[in-house]
């Protein structure tokens, strides 16, 4: 099946007073219909930026400086605003992190739903309202027929996130970009929202890019996962492989940092140091200053995504050419 979304070598830059920052550099991946791609990484790694670039809503002065984004085989990164607008909502839906602020407080949720649907679909007011109620029911809002005329502040956080999801889905897009949809929610509510997203994606065969820094959510929801580090993809592959046997030293360290629930450990593995600022990304592999397996080449040359068997990792350890110099091939922690 041809992928619904293809991202090729995406590069996003921010011109600032102290020179141009490269927020994303050479990001490439694709998502097939009905597939859930998880994107994880630490804060500032460029996860949201990737999402924003795909829906064409990079905050100025950020701009796409290179690469391509293709939706169903058509380039969309260079579309004029008006054409891109018709794609947003209709072909690509988006869900943001904070349900408390993503809804316009001055309009009823029904109005916002109807407005969205009528923007993209030829619906009469009555039909649209019917559908709005239907969508609210679908995302599990009890007494939807009455709640459709409520204002956002009359809903709790979890309920609001459901409304946001219904808004993202109501024009039946083929792809959903969900940027940390559960981070702002309580643990118990989080589970509800994830379950909902999963069900909807499966039922509607919608592809989904799920951005989060919660590995648990990814493990449970995603089919494949991309680990990002300093604006680049460090590793990408099937979720089971990444979680169980990450190949890139960073993803491996990340997994090891997660405190286990089932046992107490004396010392969490962790990774020393912290992610570099965009203005000071080291030459070569961005991870090299923190990497336990660093060798000369890492400091000079930037690694491409390399096949490691089950996943693809941007690490020279997996380049047959550098095998000789490499320290012993790392074992999964």
């Amino acid at each position: 099946m041809p992928p619904i979304l293809e991202v090729r070598d995406l590069r996003v830059e921010f011109p600032t007073r102290r020179g141009t920052l490269t927020a994303l550099d050479g990001v490439s991946f694709d998502i097939a219909p009905g597939e859930v791609l998880g994107v994880v990484g630490e804060s500032g790694a460029g996860k949201s930026m990737t999402g924003a670039a795909i829906i064409g809503l990079l905050e100025p002065p950020g701009r796409i400086a290179g690469g391509q984004i293709l939706l169903s085989g058509k380039r969309i990164d260079n579309l004029p605003y008006e054409q891109m607008r018709r794609i947003r909502g209709r072909e690509i839906g988006a869900i943001f992190q904070d349900p408390l602020t993503t809804l316009n407080p001055l309009y009823t949720v029904g109005r916002q739903l109807i407005e969205t649907m009528q923007t993209h679909l030829p619906l009469s007011d009555k039909e649209a309202r019917q559908r709005a109620i239907g969508w609210l029911e679908m995302v599990g809002i009890p007494a939807a027929a009455q709640r459709v005329d409520s204002y956002p502040h009359e809903f709790s956080g979890g309920m609001r996130q459901r409304v946001v999801i219904s808004l993202a889905l109501c024009a039946e897009p083929k792809l959903i970009v969900a940027d940390e949809p559960t981070t702002a929610l309580d643990v118990s509510i989080q589970a509800q929202i994830i379950a909902l997203l999963k069900t909807l994606a499966r039922e509607k065969r919608t592809a989904m890019m799920l951005v989060t820094h919660d590995m648990g959510v990814i493990a449970e929801t995603a089919d494949r996962v991309a680990v990002m580090y300093a604006g680049r993809i460090a590793e990408i592959g099937p979720v089971r492989s990444v979680v169980k046997s990450a190949k890139h030293p960073y993803s491996a360290g990340l997994m090891a940092s997660i405190p286990p629930l089932d046992r107490k450990v004396d010392h969490l593995a962790g990774i020393e140091g912290s992610m570099p600022r965009l203005s000071a990304i080291p030459q070569g592999c961005a991870f090299n200053p923190r990497c336990a397996h660093v060798f000369a080449r890492c400091r000079i040359e930037r690694p491409e995504l390399l096949e490691t068997g089950s996943t693809r990792a941007a690490c020279w350890l997996y380049d047959p050419a550098s095998e000789k110099q490499a320290p012993e091939v790392m074992r999964h922690v």
Binding site: E42, S43, S156, G158, M159, D186, V187, S188, I189, Q190, A191, Q192, I194, A195, H213, D214, M215, G216, V217, A219, E220, V239, R240, V243, G253, L254, M255, A256, S257, I258, P259, P260, L261, D262, R263, K264, V265, D266, H267, L268, A269, G270, I271, E272, S274, M275
Partner: protein, 351 residues
């Protein structure tokens, strides 16, 4: 334990008045409205151990923390610091010196206009613990080194540091007065996992080296597990279960504790469908009657709706106390939940 616990909370309660202004209240004929942020919480923390409190947002964890360090006065009940009433204890600088707090938000917990060395030195100055500028500088340098920073960093301002480094500065400040007791209110929840691991390691390390006592607050069960000796689960301002860490994870008793464990995403792709807790967290202004958890509880019956359960020790486990009618009446499923033993090798949690 024969030794006096470092901290004892007895029937601690704190209500907030969230009424509307008098005039409007009179006109719309509504009474005062109180928010019972914490309502009758009791626990003790023996020296050198860690008690953790977990629970969802708004359940009163931070309020307990603030009560314990004396930022709030309790509405009811009292706090004893080494057997002394907190108010009295805090009146004495020497005792005050011995309790410190670490906060959640590494961005708000450091005064952005102060240099790091001044931030760290503030308690030292306040308690007159260093004679002369040189001694002060040396001590600050030492503290910074202790938390894994360079003494040279003292010259900088907080905004020049990453979140994790700021949290270290926060810890350095807390340690600067040589405290015995640290209250940590979600010290890692604003941090990335890799950094969180560093901070947790650091805290554990310090506890071992300095014999600190922690009250540790988090909403993250996995984090709590790594650091606690005992864990209290809070729901709507009350403790619903208080148990040794191991016991809580191997044999959670309260339906809410179980639900929480259920809700944690599973890093092990078992294909098992999680069963999320239904419903929403009720508002603490108008909590449900009886057991506050009953609207969401699969085991709820008429009694749960009517009467508030007391925190009791169930027959089967020695050190655990649970506030649940179902547990008391043994209506609950068998203690060892399916999740715990099946999920061997599971790492999980919200980062």
């Amino acid at each position: 334990m024969s030794e006096t616990p470092v901290l004892v909370a007895e029937d601690l309660a704190r209500y907030f008045d969230v009424s509307r202004p008098l005039l409007q209240r009179l006109l719309s004929r509504e009474g005062r409205r109180t928010l019972k942020a914490v309502d009758g919480v009791s626990f003790e923390i023996p020296k050198g151990t860690t008690l953790s409190l977990v629970g969802e947002s708004g359940c009163g964890k931070s309020t307990v923390a603030r009560l314990v360090v004396g930022l709030y006065r309790p509405t009811r009940g009292r706090v004893l610091f080494e057997g002394i009433e907190l108010e009295k204890a805090r009146a004495d600088a020497e005792t005050r010196r011995r309790m410190q707090m670490i906060f959640q938000d590494p961005y708000a917990s450091l005064n952005p206009r102060w240099r790091v060395q001044d931030i760290v030195a503030e308690p030292i100055r306040a308690f007159g613990m260093a004679e002369g500028a040189a001694a002060l500088r040396e001590r600050v340098g030492h503290l910074l080194t202790q938390v894994g920073l360079s003494p040279l960093d003292g010259e900088k301002f907080p905004h020049e540091f990453s979140g994790g480094q700021r949290q270290r500065i926060s810890i350095a400040r807390a340690l600067s007065s040589n405290p015995d007791f640290l209250v940590c209110d979600e010290p890692t929840s604003a941090l990335d996992v890799s950094v969180q691991a560093q901070i947790l390691n650091l805290m554990k390390d310090l506890q071992q080296r300095l014999g600190l006592t922690y009250l540790f607050i988090s909403h993250n069960l996995a984090v709590v597990r790594q650091i606690s000796d005992r864990i209290g689960v809070m729901y709507l301002g009350r403790l619903v279960e208080l148990a040794p860490a191991e016991t809580l994870f191997t044999a959670p008793r309260h339906p809410y504790t179980r639900a929480l464990m259920e809700a944690i995403p599973d890093l092990e792709m078992t294909g098992r469908q999680r069963i999320p807790v239904g419903g929403e967290v009720p508002s603490p202004i108008s909590p449900p009657s009886g057991c506050p958890f009953h609207p969401r509880c699969p085991l709820a019956d008429a009694r749960c709706k009517a009467a508030m359960p007391a925190l009791l020790a169930p027959m089967t486990q020695g050190d655990t106390v649970v506030a649940c009618h179902a547990v008391e009446e043994r209506r609950d499923p068998p203690p060892a939940p399916a999740g715990a033993d099946q999920r061997i090798g599971t790492t999980a949690i919200a980062l």
